[in-house]
């Protein structure tokens, strides 16, 4: 029953795309409505709930104290995880991270890490001895496509708003006391496209993802850099399509940053 409806919707989405239309009436280059809520989780150093159309993703940050890596004695680190909770979609399963979850986590992670948005030196507590490790985990609560962008927004906003815990003299965290914030050097956001019926669609829904031949994500920052790219799914893009998507991504991410008052 569900599968029959789904198959119908999927082929309908491809058919519509060929005519430049979408199931939900959006333009091909139109993003769904975006809202966010922050700091709902009091045990977290930061937390953000992102709603993008019917997609709902939440992120939370816990700061821990760890040893520095041998080759970067004065730098802290971050770790990013992603889970498609089984409560978010009938297709999601619990268990060890799926290929999709691993890719999702790693692309969001790279968008933040390789962009040097966070200067890891500010996460040093004592050189060679103790550093901060930021554990950022995000979770799909309702899956309706484009977990990349919603996860990227949730992660960035969480870091932007996070409070740093206080430490006692033995470098142990004092619960519920905070000191300062994490400074971000730039604010990179992912923008994701699906190729459906030969056309490029911004911010695909779950149905559009099912209908897609290929996927492309690019992270762009407020100071004009591309900071990550990732092509996915079994099809291909022309170089022209890639360049079109990059240009559009810069605009979309700027709009989002403006809306969210990032920087």
């Amino acid at each position: 029953m569900r599968n029959t409806t789904l198959e119908y919707d999927v082929s309908k989405a491809a058919e519509l795309a060929r005519e430049g239309k979408r199931l939900d009436g959006r333009a091909l280059d139109e993003m769904r409505e975006l809202t966010i809520e922050t700091d709902f989780a009091k045990n977290a150093e930061g937390s953000t709930m992102v709603t993008l159309g019917k997609t709902k993703v939440m992120a939370g940050l816990k700061m821990g104290v760890g040893m520095p890596y041998p080759d970067s004695q004065d730098e802290g680190a971050i770790s990013v995880g992603a889970e498609q909770l089984p409560l978010a979609h009938p297709d999601y399963e619990s268990g060890r991270p799926s290929d999709n979850e691993v890719e999702l986590a790693r692309v969001v992670d790279r968008g933040l890490r390789e962009s040097k948005a966070i200067d890891f030196k500010q996460l040093c507590i004592k050189e060679g001895e103790a550093v901060w490790v930021g554990y950022l985990d995000f979770y799909a609560l309702n899956g309706d496509g484009n977990l990349f962008d919603s996860g990227s927004i949730a992660a960035l906003v969480t870091f932007a708003n996070a409070k740093m815990p206080k430490l006692d003299k033995d470098n142990r965290i004092i619960q519920k006391e905070y000191s300062g914030k994490i400074k971000l050097a730039r604010f990179p956001l992912l923008t994701t496209f699906a190729k459906v019926g030969g056309k490029v669609l911004l911010d695909p829904t779950y149905i559009e993802e099912k209908a897609s031949e290929a996927r492309f994500s690019v992270a762009t920052s407020d100071d004009g850099f591309m900071t990550a790219m990732q092509k996915g799914v079994g099809g291909s893009f022309t170089l022209e399509e890639v360049n079109y998507m990059i240009d559009l991504a810069f605009k979309v991410a700027d709009n989002t940053r403006k809306k969210l008052k990032l920087k």
Binding site: N43, L87, N142, Q175
Partner: protein, 256 residues
Amino acid sequence: MTEQNVDYKKTKKRLDGRKMDETRPLKIDVGVIPNADGSAYLEWGQNKVYAAVYGPREALPKHSANAYKSVIKVEYRMTSFSVPDRKRPGPNRRDQEISKVLSEALSRAVFVEQFPNTEIGVYVEVIDSNAGSRVACLTAASCALADAGLPMRDLVAATGVGKAYGELVIDLNKDEEDAPDAVDIPIAILPNSEEIVLLQMDGLLTKKEWEKIAKLGIQGCKDVYAIQKEALQKKFKLGEASKKDLGKKTKKKVKK
């Protein structure tokens, strides 16, 4: 954070200002996860939990199916940031035990005999916590089952009850769970029949104390029940008339 010198017999009120038999503020929203067959979001003091129900659907793996009834499978999980010290990914032994006792508590509430060879997946996720997350999840899960239109004997209403700083109290928070004399008792009932479907206990308690606590707990569950019913009615009033006859439905197609 333990408060060694607190004495509730003297203070007459609790660390957070509550009376001994007062439950923390409780708020329930039903139908919050569009993809799910039923769902609920619940805030109970600092606890925040989501519950979603998928099913009845084909039981997988097949050997997990029961020819006489639907199997209710609860997965209780906590996000990594829902506790003071980061929780590592993947279920631990505590999660596994809580999932089991919640499944058993809900099995009594649903007319599982009507859906042989199926499973009902119940997923509960704690996103913030401060003592009592399992009873919060059970309360939310029960609303999600009702929201899914499943035929039910009754809702399951749950609360924590026990002892802290010298007094018997309802709905212990984290500071009270850390009291030197703390006893924590998660309890859940079917409110109409007062059948006990969940009962666990930790700590040192006399039979006398238990008898008082049991009364307090059953009353606490009934207070929770009132809020559950209100949340469900609120949703049904908002236009979902077809799902109104909660507890009477007996026909529901199984998805393959």
